[in-house]
Amino acid sequence: MTIRDKTAIAGLGSTPYYKRGTSLPQTLPELVCKAIIAAVDDAGLTVKDIDGFAYYSEGFDTPYLMETLGIPEIRYTATLTGSGGGSAGAVGLAASAIVSGMAETVVVVGGTQMAEQRFGSLMSAYPQTPENAFFSSAGLVGPGHMFALLARRHMHLYGTTREHFAEVAISTRLNAMRNPGAVMRKPMSRDDYFNAPMIADPCCLFDFCLETDGAIAVVVTSTERARDLRRDPVRILASTHGGGRDWGRALYWMNMPDEAFASGGHAPVARGLYAQAGVTPGDIDCAQIYDHFSPMVITQLEDYGFCGKGEGGPFVASGAIRYDGGSLPVNTDGGQLSAGYIWGMSHVREGVEQLRGTAVSQVADAELVLVTGGPSSLPVSGLILAK
Protein backbone atom coordinates (compact mmCIF):
# COMPACT_ATOMS: atom_id res chain seq x y z
CA MET A 1 0.00 0.00 0.00
CA THR A 2 1.23 3.50 -0.76
CA ILE A 3 -0.25 6.98 -0.51
CA ARG A 4 0.38 7.47 -4.22
CA ASP A 5 -2.27 9.61 -5.86
CA LYS A 6 -5.01 8.80 -3.33
CA THR A 7 -5.27 12.22 -1.74
CA ALA A 8 -5.34 15.83 -2.83
CA ILE A 9 -4.98 19.37 -1.59
CA ALA A 10 -8.49 20.80 -1.70
CA GLY A 11 -7.98 24.12 0.03
CA LEU A 12 -5.25 26.72 0.50
CA GLY A 13 -5.13 29.64 2.89
CA SER A 14 -2.49 32.18 3.80
CA THR A 15 -1.98 35.34 5.80
CA PRO A 16 0.02 38.14 4.20
CA TYR A 17 3.79 37.83 4.65
CA TYR A 18 5.06 40.43 7.12
CA LYS A 19 8.57 41.71 7.75
CA ARG A 20 9.84 40.32 11.04
CA GLY A 21 7.75 41.49 13.98
CA THR A 22 5.33 43.65 11.95
CA SER A 23 2.47 41.15 12.27
CA LEU A 24 2.06 42.33 15.88
CA PRO A 25 -0.24 42.82 17.74
CA GLN A 26 -1.69 39.72 16.09
CA THR A 27 -0.51 36.59 17.91
CA LEU A 28 1.05 33.58 16.19
CA PRO A 29 -1.95 31.31 17.03
CA GLU A 30 -4.16 34.03 15.55
CA LEU A 31 -2.16 34.02 12.30
CA VAL A 32 -2.40 30.22 12.25
CA CYS A 33 -6.18 30.36 12.74
CA LYS A 34 -6.55 32.93 9.96
CA ALA A 35 -4.69 30.63 7.56
CA ILE A 36 -6.86 27.65 8.58
CA ILE A 37 -10.13 29.58 8.19
CA ALA A 38 -9.02 30.78 4.74
CA ALA A 39 -7.99 27.26 3.68
CA VAL A 40 -11.28 25.55 4.63
CA ASP A 41 -13.23 28.41 3.06
CA ASP A 42 -11.22 28.03 -0.14
CA ALA A 43 -12.13 24.32 -0.17
CA GLY A 44 -15.81 25.09 0.31
CA LEU A 45 -15.77 23.53 3.77
CA THR A 46 -16.02 24.93 7.28
CA VAL A 47 -13.77 24.50 10.30
CA LYS A 48 -16.33 22.01 11.64
CA ASP A 49 -15.32 19.62 8.86
CA ILE A 50 -11.72 19.45 10.10
CA ASP A 51 -11.06 16.10 11.79
CA GLY A 52 -7.29 16.02 11.73
CA PHE A 53 -4.08 18.02 11.95
CA ALA A 54 -0.65 17.15 10.57
CA TYR A 55 2.28 19.32 11.59
CA TYR A 56 6.07 19.46 11.48
CA SER A 57 8.66 21.36 13.50
CA GLU A 58 6.85 20.84 16.82
CA GLY A 59 3.51 21.92 15.37
CA PHE A 60 0.80 23.84 17.15
CA ASP A 61 -1.54 23.21 20.07
CA THR A 62 -4.43 21.20 18.62
CA PRO A 63 -6.85 21.57 21.56
CA TYR A 64 -6.22 25.32 21.54
CA LEU A 65 -7.13 25.43 17.85
CA MET A 66 -10.26 23.36 18.52
CA GLU A 67 -11.29 25.61 21.40
CA THR A 68 -10.59 28.77 19.42
CA LEU A 69 -12.19 27.74 16.15
CA GLY A 70 -15.00 25.55 17.52
CA ILE A 71 -13.83 22.31 15.91
CA PRO A 72 -16.09 19.65 17.51
CA GLU A 73 -13.92 16.51 17.30
CA ILE A 74 -10.64 15.41 15.82
CA ARG A 75 -9.48 11.88 15.10
CA TYR A 76 -5.89 12.49 14.12
CA THR A 77 -3.20 14.89 15.33
CA ALA A 78 0.41 14.15 14.53
CA THR A 79 3.70 15.95 14.08
CA LEU A 80 6.71 14.96 12.04
CA THR A 81 9.80 15.00 14.24
CA GLY A 82 12.61 17.42 13.53
CA SER A 83 12.30 20.98 12.26
CA GLY A 84 11.85 22.71 8.90
CA GLY A 85 12.99 19.56 7.12
CA GLY A 86 9.46 18.20 7.53
CA SER A 87 7.43 20.89 5.76
CA ALA A 88 6.85 18.89 2.57
CA GLY A 89 6.55 15.64 4.53
CA ALA A 90 3.75 16.95 6.74
CA VAL A 91 1.54 16.88 3.65
CA GLY A 92 2.44 13.20 3.28
CA LEU A 93 1.64 12.68 6.96
CA ALA A 94 -1.84 14.10 6.32
CA ALA A 95 -2.21 11.86 3.27
CA SER A 96 -1.27 8.79 5.31
CA ALA A 97 -4.02 9.59 7.83
CA ILE A 98 -6.59 9.74 5.05
CA VAL A 99 -5.41 6.66 3.17
CA SER A 100 -5.46 4.64 6.39
CA GLY A 101 -8.97 5.84 7.22
CA MET A 102 -7.99 7.60 10.44
CA ALA A 103 -9.30 10.96 9.27
CA GLU A 104 -11.08 12.55 6.33
CA THR A 105 -10.21 16.25 6.35
CA VAL A 106 -6.72 17.00 7.60
CA VAL A 107 -5.21 20.46 7.86
CA VAL A 108 -1.48 20.99 7.47
CA VAL A 109 -0.42 24.34 8.84
CA GLY A 110 2.86 26.14 9.36
CA GLY A 111 3.56 29.60 10.66
CA THR A 112 6.20 31.77 12.18
CA GLN A 113 6.50 35.02 14.04
CA MET A 114 9.96 36.31 14.89
CA ALA A 115 9.10 39.01 17.39
CA GLU A 116 11.14 37.46 20.19
CA GLN A 117 13.67 34.96 18.85
CA ARG A 118 15.21 35.74 15.50
CA PHE A 119 15.80 32.70 13.35
CA GLY A 120 19.22 34.05 12.42
CA SER A 121 20.52 33.54 15.96
CA LEU A 122 18.46 30.45 16.73
CA MET A 123 21.26 28.34 18.21
CA SER A 124 22.15 30.98 20.79
CA ALA A 125 18.72 30.40 22.35
CA TYR A 126 19.12 26.64 22.69
CA PRO A 127 19.51 25.38 26.26
CA GLN A 128 23.04 24.14 26.92
CA THR A 129 23.23 20.35 26.81
CA PRO A 130 26.11 17.85 26.81
CA GLU A 131 25.37 17.15 23.13
CA ASN A 132 25.30 20.70 21.85
CA ALA A 133 28.46 21.62 23.79
CA PHE A 134 30.36 20.26 20.80
CA PHE A 135 29.03 22.95 18.49
CA SER A 136 28.00 25.82 20.74
CA SER A 137 31.57 26.00 22.10
CA ALA A 138 32.66 26.97 18.58
CA GLY A 139 30.56 30.13 18.36
CA LEU A 140 28.05 28.73 15.86
CA VAL A 141 25.26 31.14 16.73
CA GLY A 142 22.91 30.74 13.79
CA PRO A 143 22.11 28.22 11.09
CA GLY A 144 23.90 30.42 8.55
CA HIS A 145 27.22 29.83 10.27
CA MET A 146 26.67 26.09 9.98
CA PHE A 147 25.49 26.01 6.39
CA ALA A 148 28.46 28.19 5.42
CA LEU A 149 30.71 25.27 6.40
CA LEU A 150 28.82 23.01 3.99
CA ALA A 151 28.84 25.63 1.25
CA ARG A 152 32.60 26.13 1.43
CA ARG A 153 33.23 22.40 1.22
CA HIS A 154 31.02 22.20 -1.87
CA MET A 155 33.07 25.01 -3.42
CA HIS A 156 36.28 23.20 -2.56
CA LEU A 157 35.19 19.82 -3.93
CA TYR A 158 33.37 20.90 -7.07
CA GLY A 159 34.52 24.39 -7.96
CA THR A 160 31.20 25.98 -7.05
CA THR A 161 31.57 29.77 -6.79
CA ARG A 162 29.84 32.76 -5.27
CA GLU A 163 28.72 33.60 -8.81
CA HIS A 164 26.57 30.48 -8.61
CA PHE A 165 25.09 31.50 -5.27
CA ALA A 166 24.43 34.94 -6.76
CA GLU A 167 22.49 33.39 -9.62
CA VAL A 168 20.19 31.63 -7.13
CA ALA A 169 19.64 34.86 -5.19
CA ILE A 170 19.09 36.99 -8.30
CA SER A 171 16.78 34.58 -10.14
CA THR A 172 14.72 34.23 -6.97
CA ARG A 173 14.51 38.00 -6.59
CA LEU A 174 13.34 38.37 -10.19
CA ASN A 175 10.45 36.04 -9.32
CA ALA A 176 9.66 38.01 -6.15
CA MET A 177 9.53 41.25 -8.14
CA ARG A 178 6.52 39.89 -10.04
CA ASN A 179 4.80 38.75 -6.83
CA PRO A 180 2.77 41.51 -5.11
CA GLY A 181 2.75 39.42 -1.91
CA ALA A 182 6.54 39.22 -1.71
CA VAL A 183 8.35 41.14 1.03
CA MET A 184 11.50 41.97 -0.99
CA ARG A 185 10.70 43.31 -4.46
CA LYS A 186 13.59 45.70 -5.07
CA PRO A 187 15.74 44.76 -8.06
CA MET A 188 18.99 42.97 -7.14
CA SER A 189 21.93 43.36 -9.50
CA ARG A 190 25.08 41.31 -9.50
CA ASP A 191 26.85 44.33 -7.97
CA ASP A 192 24.20 44.54 -5.24
CA TYR A 193 24.88 40.91 -4.43
CA PHE A 194 28.66 41.24 -4.27
CA ASN A 195 28.48 44.51 -2.31
CA ALA A 196 26.25 43.00 0.38
CA PRO A 197 27.79 42.42 3.81
CA MET A 198 29.36 39.03 4.36
CA ILE A 199 27.55 37.35 7.24
CA ALA A 200 29.25 33.96 7.35
CA ASP A 201 31.86 33.78 4.59
CA PRO A 202 31.20 32.51 1.87
CA CYS A 203 27.55 33.45 2.53
CA CYS A 204 26.54 37.11 2.27
CA LEU A 205 23.32 38.81 3.32
CA PHE A 206 21.52 37.84 0.09
CA ASP A 207 22.33 34.16 0.55
CA PHE A 208 20.22 34.21 3.71
CA CYS A 209 16.44 33.80 3.70
CA LEU A 210 14.25 36.59 4.99
CA GLU A 211 12.99 36.83 8.54
CA THR A 212 9.24 37.21 8.21
CA ASP A 213 5.97 36.47 9.97
CA GLY A 214 2.95 34.65 8.58
CA ALA A 215 1.05 31.38 8.37
CA ILE A 216 -0.12 29.08 5.58
CA ALA A 217 -2.53 26.12 5.74
CA VAL A 218 -3.70 23.50 3.27
CA VAL A 219 -6.66 21.13 3.49
CA VAL A 220 -5.92 17.52 2.53
CA THR A 221 -8.66 14.99 1.75
CA SER A 222 -9.20 12.00 -0.53
CA THR A 223 -8.89 12.74 -4.25
CA GLU A 224 -12.37 11.34 -4.73
CA ARG A 225 -13.91 13.69 -2.17
CA ALA A 226 -11.82 16.61 -3.39
CA ARG A 227 -13.44 16.31 -6.83
CA ASP A 228 -16.80 17.23 -5.26
CA LEU A 229 -15.43 20.31 -3.49
CA ARG A 230 -15.14 23.88 -4.72
CA ARG A 231 -11.63 23.89 -6.20
CA ASP A 232 -9.96 21.61 -8.71
CA PRO A 233 -7.98 19.08 -6.66
CA VAL A 234 -4.20 19.26 -6.63
CA ARG A 235 -3.21 15.63 -6.35
CA ILE A 236 -0.60 14.45 -3.89
CA LEU A 237 1.27 12.11 -6.19
CA ALA A 238 3.94 11.17 -3.66
CA SER A 239 5.55 12.31 -0.43
CA THR A 240 8.49 10.90 1.50
CA HIS A 241 10.42 11.92 4.58
CA GLY A 242 13.37 10.55 6.50
CA GLY A 243 16.93 10.28 5.30
CA GLY A 244 20.18 8.41 5.79
CA ARG A 245 22.40 7.95 8.80
CA ASP A 246 25.26 9.53 6.84
CA TRP A 247 23.36 12.86 7.06
CA GLY A 248 21.66 12.29 10.41
CA ARG A 249 22.02 15.16 12.83
CA ALA A 250 23.85 17.00 10.05
CA LEU A 251 24.65 20.50 11.30
CA TYR A 252 24.86 19.35 14.89
CA TRP A 253 27.18 16.48 14.04
CA MET A 254 29.31 17.66 11.10
CA ASN A 255 30.85 14.21 10.67
CA MET A 256 28.94 13.33 7.50
CA PRO A 257 31.05 11.44 4.94
CA ASP A 258 32.35 13.78 2.23
CA GLU A 259 29.65 13.04 -0.36
CA ALA A 260 26.81 13.61 2.11
CA PHE A 261 28.54 16.59 3.70
CA ALA A 262 28.53 18.61 0.49
CA SER A 263 24.86 17.87 -0.19
CA GLY A 264 21.40 18.81 0.99
CA GLY A 265 20.87 15.46 2.69
CA HIS A 266 17.91 14.69 0.45
CA ALA A 267 19.28 11.94 -1.82
CA PRO A 268 17.55 8.97 -0.08
CA VAL A 269 14.26 10.86 0.21
CA ALA A 270 14.48 11.86 -3.47
CA ARG A 271 15.01 8.26 -4.60
CA GLY A 272 11.98 7.13 -2.63
CA LEU A 273 9.91 10.01 -3.88
CA TYR A 274 10.51 9.35 -7.59
CA ALA A 275 9.92 5.62 -7.06
CA GLN A 276 6.63 6.27 -5.26
CA ALA A 277 5.48 8.76 -7.89
CA GLY A 278 6.67 6.69 -10.85
CA VAL A 279 8.29 9.74 -12.47
CA THR A 280 11.82 10.96 -13.13
CA PRO A 281 13.47 14.35 -12.59
CA GLY A 282 12.93 15.15 -16.27
CA ASP A 283 9.16 14.96 -15.76
CA ILE A 284 9.11 17.77 -13.19
CA ASP A 285 7.86 21.09 -14.63
CA CYS A 286 8.96 23.37 -11.84
CA ALA A 287 10.44 23.01 -8.37
CA GLN A 288 9.82 24.79 -5.10
CA ILE A 289 13.08 24.16 -3.26
CA TYR A 290 13.49 25.03 0.41
CA ASP A 291 15.79 28.02 0.25
CA HIS A 292 16.94 29.03 3.71
CA PHE A 293 20.39 29.55 2.16
CA SER A 294 21.11 29.90 -1.53
CA PRO A 295 23.93 27.28 -1.65
CA MET A 296 21.46 24.71 -0.33
CA VAL A 297 19.26 25.20 -3.41
CA ILE A 298 22.24 24.10 -5.48
CA THR A 299 22.87 21.02 -3.35
CA GLN A 300 19.20 19.99 -3.45
CA LEU A 301 19.11 20.32 -7.24
CA GLU A 302 21.86 17.70 -7.19
CA ASP A 303 20.12 15.53 -4.58
CA TYR A 304 16.95 15.48 -6.70
CA GLY A 305 18.86 14.52 -9.83
CA PHE A 306 18.26 17.62 -11.95
CA CYS A 307 22.00 17.61 -12.60
CA GLY A 308 24.95 15.46 -11.60
CA LYS A 309 26.67 15.51 -8.22
CA GLY A 310 28.81 18.64 -8.04
CA GLU A 311 27.23 20.14 -11.19
CA GLY A 312 24.67 22.29 -9.39
CA GLY A 313 26.74 25.45 -9.83
CA PRO A 314 27.09 25.25 -13.63
CA PHE A 315 23.45 24.06 -13.81
CA VAL A 316 22.13 27.28 -12.25
CA ALA A 317 24.69 29.38 -14.16
CA SER A 318 23.19 28.05 -17.41
CA GLY A 319 19.94 29.83 -16.61
CA ALA A 320 18.14 26.55 -15.97
CA ILE A 321 16.29 27.75 -12.86
CA ARG A 322 15.12 31.08 -14.32
CA TYR A 323 11.41 31.63 -14.84
CA ASP A 324 12.17 33.20 -18.23
CA GLY A 325 13.58 30.50 -20.44
CA GLY A 326 14.75 28.08 -17.77
CA SER A 327 14.23 24.34 -18.16
CA LEU A 328 13.29 24.04 -14.47
CA PRO A 329 11.89 27.25 -13.02
CA VAL A 330 12.66 27.25 -9.27
CA ASN A 331 10.93 29.12 -6.46
CA THR A 332 8.62 30.91 -8.84
CA ASP A 333 6.97 32.93 -6.05
CA GLY A 334 10.27 34.48 -4.94
CA GLY A 335 11.04 31.79 -2.39
CA GLN A 336 12.12 32.27 1.18
CA LEU A 337 15.07 34.32 -0.02
CA SER A 338 12.84 37.12 -1.33
CA ALA A 339 9.08 36.48 -0.92
CA GLY A 340 8.70 35.29 2.66
CA TYR A 341 10.00 32.75 5.12
CA ILE A 342 7.03 30.73 6.39
CA TRP A 343 9.09 27.72 7.47
CA GLY A 344 8.68 25.95 4.13
CA MET A 345 4.92 26.28 3.73
CA SER A 346 5.24 28.99 1.06
CA HIS A 347 6.74 26.30 -1.19
CA VAL A 348 3.69 24.08 -0.70
CA ARG A 349 1.50 27.09 -1.41
CA GLU A 350 3.33 27.91 -4.65
CA GLY A 351 3.13 24.27 -5.74
CA VAL A 352 -0.65 24.43 -5.37
CA GLU A 353 -0.87 27.78 -7.20
CA GLN A 354 1.18 26.46 -10.13
CA LEU A 355 -1.05 23.42 -10.56
CA ARG A 356 -4.23 25.45 -10.25
CA GLY A 357 -2.88 27.78 -12.90
CA THR A 358 -3.17 30.75 -10.52
CA ALA A 359 0.54 31.46 -9.88
CA VAL A 360 1.77 34.99 -10.46
CA SER A 361 4.70 33.57 -12.43
CA GLN A 362 2.72 30.76 -14.00
CA VAL A 363 4.74 28.00 -15.68
CA ALA A 364 2.89 27.10 -18.87
CA ASP A 365 1.23 23.67 -18.75
CA ALA A 366 2.67 22.81 -15.35
CA GLU A 367 1.55 19.30 -14.47
CA LEU A 368 4.12 18.09 -11.93
CA VAL A 369 5.71 20.21 -9.23
CA LEU A 370 8.39 19.18 -6.75
CA VAL A 371 8.30 20.70 -3.26
CA THR A 372 11.10 20.10 -0.77
CA GLY A 373 11.52 20.54 2.97
CA GLY A 374 14.61 22.12 4.45
CA PRO A 375 18.04 20.56 4.61
CA SER A 376 18.32 20.17 8.37
CA SER A 377 18.60 17.43 10.96
CA LEU A 378 16.50 14.48 9.78
CA PRO A 379 13.83 14.11 8.70
CA VAL A 380 14.11 15.93 5.43
CA SER A 381 11.19 15.53 3.07
CA GLY A 382 9.87 15.85 -0.45
CA LEU A 383 6.50 16.12 -2.15
CA ILE A 384 5.36 15.77 -5.75
CA LEU A 385 2.08 17.48 -6.57
CA ALA A 386 0.17 16.84 -9.79
CA LYS A 387 -2.59 18.50 -11.79
Binding site: F134, L140, V141, L150, H156, R245, W253
Partner: protein, 146 residues
Protein backbone atom coordinates in the same frame (compact mmCIF):
# COMPACT_ATOMS: atom_id res chain seq x y z
CA UNK B 1 47.93 42.72 6.20
CA UNK B 2 44.92 40.54 6.72
CA UNK B 3 42.94 40.47 9.96
CA UNK B 4 43.80 37.84 12.56
CA UNK B 5 41.13 35.41 13.77
CA UNK B 6 40.11 35.52 17.42
CA UNK B 7 38.48 33.03 19.77
CA UNK B 8 34.66 33.01 19.73
CA UNK B 9 32.64 34.91 22.35
CA UNK B 10 32.88 33.00 25.65
CA UNK B 11 29.51 34.31 26.92
CA UNK B 12 27.63 32.16 24.43
CA UNK B 13 28.68 28.84 25.88
CA UNK B 14 28.33 27.23 29.30
CA UNK B 15 29.70 23.73 29.59
CA UNK B 16 27.39 20.93 30.71
CA UNK B 17 28.48 17.30 30.57
CA UNK B 18 27.19 13.77 31.07
CA UNK B 19 29.10 10.59 31.79
CA UNK B 20 29.81 10.10 28.09
CA UNK B 21 31.15 13.57 27.35
CA UNK B 22 32.88 14.37 30.62
CA UNK B 23 36.22 12.62 29.84
CA UNK B 24 36.66 14.83 26.77
CA UNK B 25 36.29 18.04 28.76
CA UNK B 26 38.31 16.78 31.76
CA UNK B 27 41.20 15.98 29.43
CA UNK B 28 40.78 19.38 27.77
CA UNK B 29 41.11 21.10 31.15
CA UNK B 30 44.54 19.41 31.39
CA UNK B 31 45.33 20.48 27.80
CA UNK B 32 45.16 16.95 26.46
CA UNK B 33 43.22 16.37 23.23
CA UNK B 34 41.45 13.00 23.35
CA UNK B 35 38.73 11.30 21.33
CA UNK B 36 36.43 8.38 22.18
CA UNK B 37 37.50 5.06 20.69
CA UNK B 38 35.44 1.87 20.90
CA UNK B 39 37.03 -0.53 23.38
CA UNK B 40 35.80 -3.46 21.31
CA UNK B 41 36.25 -2.69 17.58
CA UNK B 42 38.52 0.40 17.86
CA UNK B 43 36.22 2.67 15.82
CA UNK B 44 36.53 6.33 16.77
CA UNK B 45 33.44 8.49 17.06
CA UNK B 46 32.81 12.16 17.69
CA UNK B 47 30.98 13.61 19.52
CA UNK B 48 30.93 10.95 22.26
CA UNK B 49 27.76 8.82 22.49
CA UNK B 50 26.78 5.85 24.72
CA UNK B 51 27.15 3.14 22.04
CA UNK B 52 29.58 2.31 19.27
CA UNK B 53 27.56 2.73 16.04
CA UNK B 54 29.69 0.01 14.47
CA UNK B 55 29.37 -2.80 17.07
CA UNK B 56 27.07 -1.41 19.82
CA UNK B 57 29.72 -1.92 22.48
CA UNK B 58 29.70 0.55 25.36
CA UNK B 59 33.37 -0.04 26.14
CA UNK B 60 35.32 3.15 25.58
CA UNK B 61 38.94 4.27 25.53
CA UNK B 62 40.18 7.85 25.46
CA UNK B 63 43.58 7.81 23.76
CA UNK B 64 45.54 11.07 23.75
CA UNK B 65 45.96 12.42 20.25
CA UNK B 66 48.87 14.27 18.69
CA UNK B 67 46.83 17.46 18.36
CA UNK B 68 47.60 17.63 14.65
CA UNK B 69 44.76 17.88 12.17
CA UNK B 70 43.66 19.02 8.75
CA UNK B 71 41.29 21.91 8.04
CA UNK B 72 38.16 20.35 6.51
CA UNK B 73 36.01 23.47 6.16
CA UNK B 74 35.60 26.87 7.80
CA UNK B 75 33.58 30.04 7.80
CA UNK B 76 34.58 33.57 8.73
CA UNK B 77 32.20 35.37 11.07
CA UNK B 78 32.80 39.09 10.77
CA UNK B 79 29.39 40.46 11.68
CA UNK B 80 27.66 40.41 15.06
CA UNK B 81 24.16 39.00 14.74
CA UNK B 82 23.78 39.26 18.51
CA UNK B 83 25.53 41.88 20.68
CA UNK B 84 27.73 39.42 22.59
CA UNK B 85 29.64 38.69 19.40
CA UNK B 86 30.80 42.24 18.71
CA UNK B 87 34.08 42.27 20.67
CA UNK B 88 35.24 38.92 19.30
CA UNK B 89 35.20 39.46 15.56
CA UNK B 90 36.41 38.09 13.32
CA UNK B 91 36.32 34.49 14.45
CA UNK B 92 36.58 31.35 12.37
CA UNK B 93 34.34 28.37 13.16
CA UNK B 94 35.95 25.37 11.52
CA UNK B 95 35.88 21.64 11.13
CA UNK B 96 39.17 19.91 11.78
CA UNK B 97 39.76 16.32 10.76
CA UNK B 98 41.90 14.28 13.13
CA UNK B 99 43.93 11.70 11.16
CA UNK B 100 45.07 9.88 14.31
CA UNK B 101 41.44 9.44 15.42
CA UNK B 102 40.18 7.73 12.29
CA UNK B 103 39.42 11.04 10.58
CA UNK B 104 36.63 12.14 12.95
CA UNK B 105 35.99 15.89 12.89
CA UNK B 106 35.92 18.42 15.67
CA UNK B 107 33.71 21.48 15.44
CA UNK B 108 36.20 24.08 16.58
CA UNK B 109 37.84 27.41 15.77
CA UNK B 110 40.96 28.50 13.96
CA UNK B 111 42.61 31.20 16.07
CA UNK B 112 45.54 33.52 15.46
CA UNK B 113 45.36 33.02 11.72
CA UNK B 114 45.56 35.74 9.06
CA UNK B 115 42.21 35.35 7.31
CA UNK B 116 43.81 35.27 3.88
CA UNK B 117 45.97 32.28 4.89
CA UNK B 118 43.00 30.01 5.56
CA UNK B 119 42.66 27.18 3.07
CA UNK B 120 40.91 23.83 3.16
CA UNK B 121 43.52 21.11 3.58
CA UNK B 122 45.86 23.28 5.69
CA UNK B 123 47.69 21.43 8.48
CA UNK B 124 46.62 22.71 11.89
CA UNK B 125 47.55 21.98 15.49
CA UNK B 126 45.69 22.29 18.75
CA UNK B 127 45.96 25.31 21.03
CA UNK B 128 43.92 25.84 24.14
CA UNK B 129 41.44 28.59 24.82
CA UNK B 130 41.47 28.88 28.62
CA UNK B 131 38.27 30.63 29.54
CA UNK B 132 37.47 32.70 32.65
CA UNK B 133 35.08 29.98 33.87
CA UNK B 134 37.89 27.39 34.05
CA UNK B 135 36.80 25.54 30.93
CA UNK B 136 39.45 24.94 28.26
CA UNK B 137 38.33 24.56 24.67
CA UNK B 138 40.49 23.01 21.97
CA UNK B 139 41.08 25.47 19.15
CA UNK B 140 43.56 25.15 16.29
CA UNK B 141 46.21 27.32 14.67
CA UNK B 142 47.72 27.05 11.24
CA UNK B 143 50.98 25.12 11.17
CA UNK B 144 53.64 27.11 9.37
CA UNK B 145 54.88 25.25 6.36
CA UNK B 146 57.44 27.83 5.20
Amino acid sequence: MSEISKAPPPELFTLTTDQWTKPFWEAAAAHRLVAPKCGCCSTFRMPPTPFCPNCLSQALEWPELSGHGVLYSYTIVARAIIPEMAAHLPYVPALVELPDAGGVRLITNIVGAPLDALEIGCPVEVVWDDRPDGVSIPCFRLVRTD
